[in-house]
Subunit: 302 residues, 4 copies
């Protein structure tokens, strides 16, 4: 099939390659002329025959909104836009409405797979009408991994990004579990070589997984992770997952703990712990530490 | 090699099969004469030639202690006992000492793999001296999965069970992450078919794992998990992991959350939430709900 | 001063009494004619002289919006509306704008104190311009507790409800802390009488507080809280607090734990724990429990 | 009554004063001759008439064990030793046994109140037989606050320290709740003056408490807590509380969160978050940030 692809950063460029390797015709556009196939969105659209499918792969929020607004002007009745970025699922309804006013279809698609996706295929979770999804299906088939898994039409518009959001929320929790186990092993000297233990877990264990493989790979490159700072950003989807849990009265303690751990990792000093320390100071007792000479209790300042 | 195997429950019996399939000679003993190869521990030991290796595969705690105490009387200098059960790593030092008084070696070995282990191999994490471990190595090689992973000599006595304990702690956290994501997907009607979404995640995603495969298998058998009660036991290793974290001042919020969720799942009614409800009752205001007729605030009882 | 009061439920009626006891003139309106001083909002407004102050004390959300929309039509330039309900602070800006179009001022005011407020005074946290707040100050002074505490002009519009929201979020965490301690004391038989222990904590301890007093009162009425179900609603402010924390990348593990515990308390069965149980089922091993006769390990199903 | 007091650090010295102010005769002993009334434990005991009551107020663990071992040699049948330090409740049974072999009674007593205790009285939670407690009662009555609260005979030996342990566990949770609320208020600019908001909460609110008073006092001394580092030690009782919860399968998420936050506050860098960052690195995508020029998605590295 023929497909327009807007956004040729790392992900977009890799996806273009995978689509072309499956003999699809990709017209790619990016602000950066060095990677772009055409000079403008207009040129991209002009070059395609109807019904067109345009896959948008730009950052969520304002950039995605801007591209979709432009496409709403350029495309025609029967065309379909796919938002393959990390948009919040609640934004998809707005995108769909904007496009629907012009008779343009909309499919939201959560994409997982990172730099390995080009080779192994991307996991795809999409939302939209069956009719719109069908128009994109050949591209989905090329992008997804071989085999029976890796693609789902999850439901109506928004369902794809919702499923991807939950996927990422789960990812936060899973990563945090490995991380806590790692820290405990490192904190004691009971185990001789933490990397060896993690590596051994890659087969036969209950916790074998792709994330474990990644962690082993990182440990093999840098035993003790000495070159890495304990600082973790968050991309938004963890936050949205916990917020969706709160909206639906779903207890989500482990994923929330993972999110809060990331927040804390970015703080130079914790205002909350300042408050704790300040209260302990007020007890008065905690400044007095027992020493070898005097018999001194320190019964307060818990 | 020749190996004695004490405890022929599901795990022990499967391991006997796997060892025999690798052409090892197994003398198995169990209280249950229907599955036992010999009539008694004495008979087992008598039938073996020195140096003997005896693998104990009985429940942790009193049963393991009892078997090891008996073996201390029956075995000789240079023999080795392996504790392959779920013993707490702190018990291993005691076991090793009991046996060392008679010149008998000791290796602790955490075993993972469940009913799949017979076919796929068991992940093994062991602790002990290099000399003792070497005597058991042929059995380890038969039991572990093929390939380069699945076995580690983690360190001195106790290190094997410690590593297995942390493995299980991580498992609690990973399971909880999937479970929370599952509940959120089920709580909304955004996604059409939760099973389909989970199934699609088996390839190409960041969160693909063996536990995910298990959950998909369960969902395929019972959509909505309607035949299953939300009740989860814990086997001790999750508790020990969190306790070890506390001993070592390691923050472990996600794994602890998973443990607490299991505790809560077993309560008919929560005493803590009774206390919350009791305090709210005392505010007095919360019994008054706004209704359609009256304009009534309910500003307290948060 | 003269003040209009819309909403004469438990809170509103008590506040009317406290205002009148301070010699203020209150014109109260409620849908319920049995408690209302006037027949309609129009009658209320007509009876008051300018500049008018109208205090709205109705449920947050649609009811508050409806009353404010009506008041925007009835009041005049220089009048002030106070929203004393539990509105989300983000709604206050909308309320203020609606009223500002007609030259009407707006003050948001979080109110704490419950049924004790009538006697002891209400804690008040307000937001708005100094000019608008000044017009309401005599009412604030009558409603607040005697002494130097219990009232704060927290900042611009929204600041009052924001402060009240955080107050309630803290309350969730504090209540949860007492509740967890209560459950631990009840779970063991180390302490003879849990009520006696809590009662003793009312003086001299670090954790003495009004909430502790309430819990003691509840325990004295019902030892063991046997008449109370472990079921706790949430009024929204706990959710908003955690959401505000997430928006601001503030770690909030204890308050979030309290919120999640309330969610869980309302579930007949936990879908997440069903998923945990389903995964454990798939391990296969966990159905086999050790018994007194057989020597059976149960090494999986952690 | 006459009472021996071992350990005249800040707490012990204050307690001696309060006991003497109630006309009791105190023979105090401390390693530090400047504060000690006698030269040795022997001298202290020799100076007292039978049945003697000796209150031990030294650090938990080895120091307490050493003093009790010495007293077991010096005291006689019918005497009573009180451990008023922060001993773990499980140590009390050992202390009681050591003393019982010589016919000496034992009472464990958790003490709360800090530097304010001298003036306001100490909250006391004790464990032991009714007979032993009765011998100490006059001292308890002098040390406790005036009024009906602040003393409880919680149960058998160990119950006093158990109750105090739970008290301190609750304290962790309560402090954390205030601290999280404080951080949220500071993280936004919605509220003009965080100190003013906290101060206003001292009366009329649901969350008024002694700990709130302490925090307000700290904020008044140092707005923004700029002189305080976000670093919080823990004295052991929080750990024991969570461990006791785990032993009894009691969910304790909020208090555990408070404990873990303290652990994290003491880390220069978090090994767990290093592991998170390492896994994110392996995704490959996260190093590429969207910039103003290029249209670049960053769809991985959640």
């Amino acid at each position: 099939m023929e497909i327009g692809l807007v956004g040729l950063g790392k992900m977009g460029a890799n996806m273009r390659e995978r689509l072309r390797a499956a003999d699809h015709t990709v017209v790619g556009y990016d602000h950066n002329p060095e990677v772009s196939d055409v000079d403008s969105l207009e040129a991209m659209v002009a070059q395609m025959s109807r019904p067109r499918v345009v896959w948008v792969m730009v950052p969520a929020g304002a950039p995605t909104r801007a591209v979709i607004a432009e496409l709403a002007k350029l495309l025609d009745d029967g065309d379909v836009v796919v938002d393959g970025g990390n948009s919040r699922w609640t934004d998809d309804v707005t995108s769909a409405q904007t496009l629907a006013e012009r008779g343009i279809g909309f499919v939201d698609c959560g994409v997982s797979g990172g730099v390995w996706g080009r080779t192994n295929g991307y996991a795809l979770m999409c939302g939209g009408t069956a009719e719109d999804v069908a128009k994109v299906q050949p591209a989905f088939d090329a992008l997804k991994p071989e085999g029976e898994f890796g693609f789902v039409h999850a439901g109506k518009v928004g369902a794809g990004h919702f499923a991807k959001m939950v996927h990422n929320g789960i990812e936060y929790g899973v990563m945090q579990a490995y991380a806590e186990g790692y820290e405990l092993l490192e904190a004691t000297d009971i185990v001789d070589n933490v990397t060896d233990v993690f590596r051994s877990w890659r087969e036969g264990t209950v916790i074998r997984s792709w994330l474990l493989d990644l962690l082993v790979s990182a440990l093999e490159e840098d035993q003790g992770l000495e070159k890495i700072k304990g600082y973790a950003d968050d991309s938004g989807e963890g936050r949205w997952t916990v917020e969706a849990a709160i909206d639906n009265a779903v207890p989500m303690p482990a994923i929330a703990a993972a999110l809060f751990a990331r927040f804390a990792s970015r703080q130079e000093d914790s205002p909350a712990m300042k408050a704790i320390a300040a209260m302990r100071n007020q007890f008065g007792g905690h400044a007095v530490h027992p020493d070898a000479h005097a018999v001194r209790p320190d019964t307060e300042a818990p």
